[in-house]
Symmetry: C2
Subunit: 398 residues, 2 copies
Amino acid sequence: MELTKEYTYEPLTEETATTLAIRLGLFRNDVTLTCKEIGDGNLNLIFHIRDEVNNQGIIIKQALPYAKVVGESWPLTINRNKIERDALHVFGQYVPEFVPKVYYSDETLAIMIMEDLSHLVIARKGLINNAHYPVLAKHIGVYLAKTLFYTSDFALDPQEKKKLVKQFSNPELCKITEDLVFTDPFFNHETNNFEDELTPSVHQIWENIKLKQEVAKLKKKFVTTGEALLHGDLHTGSIFASESQTKVIDPEFAFYGPIGFDVGQFIANLLLNALSKPEHERLKLYDQIIETWNTFKETFTTSWVQDSIEIYTKIEGYLDFTLSQIFEDTIGFAGCEMIRRTIGLAHVADLDGIEKLNDRLIAKTNALSLGTELILNRDSIYSVEELIVFIRSVLQHD
Amino acid sequence: MELTKEYTYEPLTEETATTLAIRLGLFRNDVTLTCKEIGDGNLNLIFHIRDEVNNQGIIIKQALPYAKVVGESWPLTINRNKIERDALHVFGQYVPEFVPKVYYSDETLAIMIMEDLSHLVIARKGLINNAHYPVLAKHIGVYLAKTLFYTSDFALDPQEKKKLVKQFSNPELCKITEDLVFTDPFFNHETNNFEDELTPSVHQIWENIKLKQEVAKLKKKFVTTGEALLHGDLHTGSIFASESQTKVIDPEFAFYGPIGFDVGQFIANLLLNALSKPEHERLKLYDQIIETWNTFKETFTTSWVQDSIEIYTKIEGYLDFTLSQIFEDTIGFAGCEMIRRTIGLAHVADLDGIEKLNDRLIAKTNALSLGTELILNRDSIYSVEELIVFIRSVLQHD
């Protein structure tokens, strides 16, 4: 299963990717393979190699040594491929059912060969197209609770946890989040990207001192608090889903951070999708949010009771405190995600894909107001049901 | 300046320590040296080598591969010698005046050769003997503010900071603090150590659910929050002092943790000393606490204004929030330190040295009550002056 000794990093082509797959014995020698590069070319090459006759396939993901977003390009460590592989390995120990299988990896080439998930659809795309996802929220609730609880100090030997903290030190990718989620959108920064018509709403954000104080606290929490091994980029574009299956992919941003960040990003992306829909279609997304949080809470609680190694978890009240802290962080981080996806560098198709300018502007203005209010009121919302009531009241006021 | 290539770790003797000092050219060849091992043999060997004629000296500190405390012995990484050296190096960049000079180090032998500070006295000893320390509080206030601010995300490039977080991963020594400061004293654990007469007070602590909830939060903050490079063990036994000079030694426990921990440990140890004195002699220790905090606050503020690289530090109100958060943590961590130094494994001479049993019991009971009340009320004390009023009111009630 080894390549020749003398090799250095170079981007694969459809041809060399196929050769590699054959050399690694991932397909029989006598089959006809097709290979297609299906990445967007911004961060990674993604080769989809298939044996159509036997209906078998694999994905080869290779990190490119740069990131390209909206015309800009900057160097970016290919080490993120290893972080992703290692994170999939850790998460796979706790939720194998929600994580793609990894067949092979090579650090020099910065490649990882994975399970072909092409029978599933990216959840963002599905949600935009009104796909029915009856198990998505439940699956993600379990995924979040288990990956986050079992990599935390509540479940891990302290020395083991500190080893993982070191292993998942991920400064370059964290910097992207620090800048693009927590900083640039709240200041007049050149990376921002929004329609001219949004300028008054954007200025309201930039001039809102109270809001910026709260985002400062959330950013500080993000950079200083290593509670659990996060996915780090858990939006609906990082999830493959069908009516019965859910797979969370792309944990390149994995690092030890605050638990509420992963939960908040997922919920924010459900909300962004909700805002792209007419009011009567939002209910089912609110229900998904409620089910995600409730599943998270139940699963986290069960793990806490059954598997905690921290003696203080036996102290009455500590679980409630922990969950309420995570919930508060979740709401705050969700607010940041909503704002940055609307006026920052990286947008979401849910909003950008709204064809009519006026509808799009309304949805985006709603995203900004809601993001702002979530951040400002995160410490006075005590249950997910209250959260939905709060969200609806904010949206009605506009 | 290199030793022969083939060598492995072995404990030095007074003879081999002297040979090493000469081989390294730290003394002239023709002088007569005296060497004395002056460590307590529990964790490290400390060789004091002197050229009496020319009045020059050095200290060789060597980590032992175990820790011995109160008869128990357990293996402990000698890597802590490197952590200590690296921490002295980092702190030396910001407060060279308060950190011993390091002349040489060797990771294999786990040794560090340092400035001889024998003209100074350990502050704990001095305080017990009523030494006059007119600059101690000011110096430690500056030391704390500068070491903590300049190693935080407020001052460091995010990637540089994350490198330091990795470099100062210190699981074994953190575990000691996690157990001996935050856990064992609050449960009926075999490492605890207290006079029989204290049993009722100790049971009050073990049965105080509200207290244990709050200690759980403080412990969680300690294990998850990497705000700055801490000294990690900043009690008055880690400080050499005179009327005009202050040197902070022994940062073996250095790691990225919450800023209030260092500040709280120092203040707690001033309080423990205060409790060992008659009431009228406590005032000057309260003044030291006030001066420490005020100096910390002023110096931290100046650095924040002048040297911050974090854009959010320009937002009105964020400095006040940060300082008030540090103050709250400081009070909580100080409370934990007071309790563990009274009933946990490692005591302080300030209290244990009180000769009369009854006086000693009163002082220790006071330490337990005060520790408890500080932890429970840390979020409703808003200034250091209020803190002193609060402390005095707790002590009067008993």
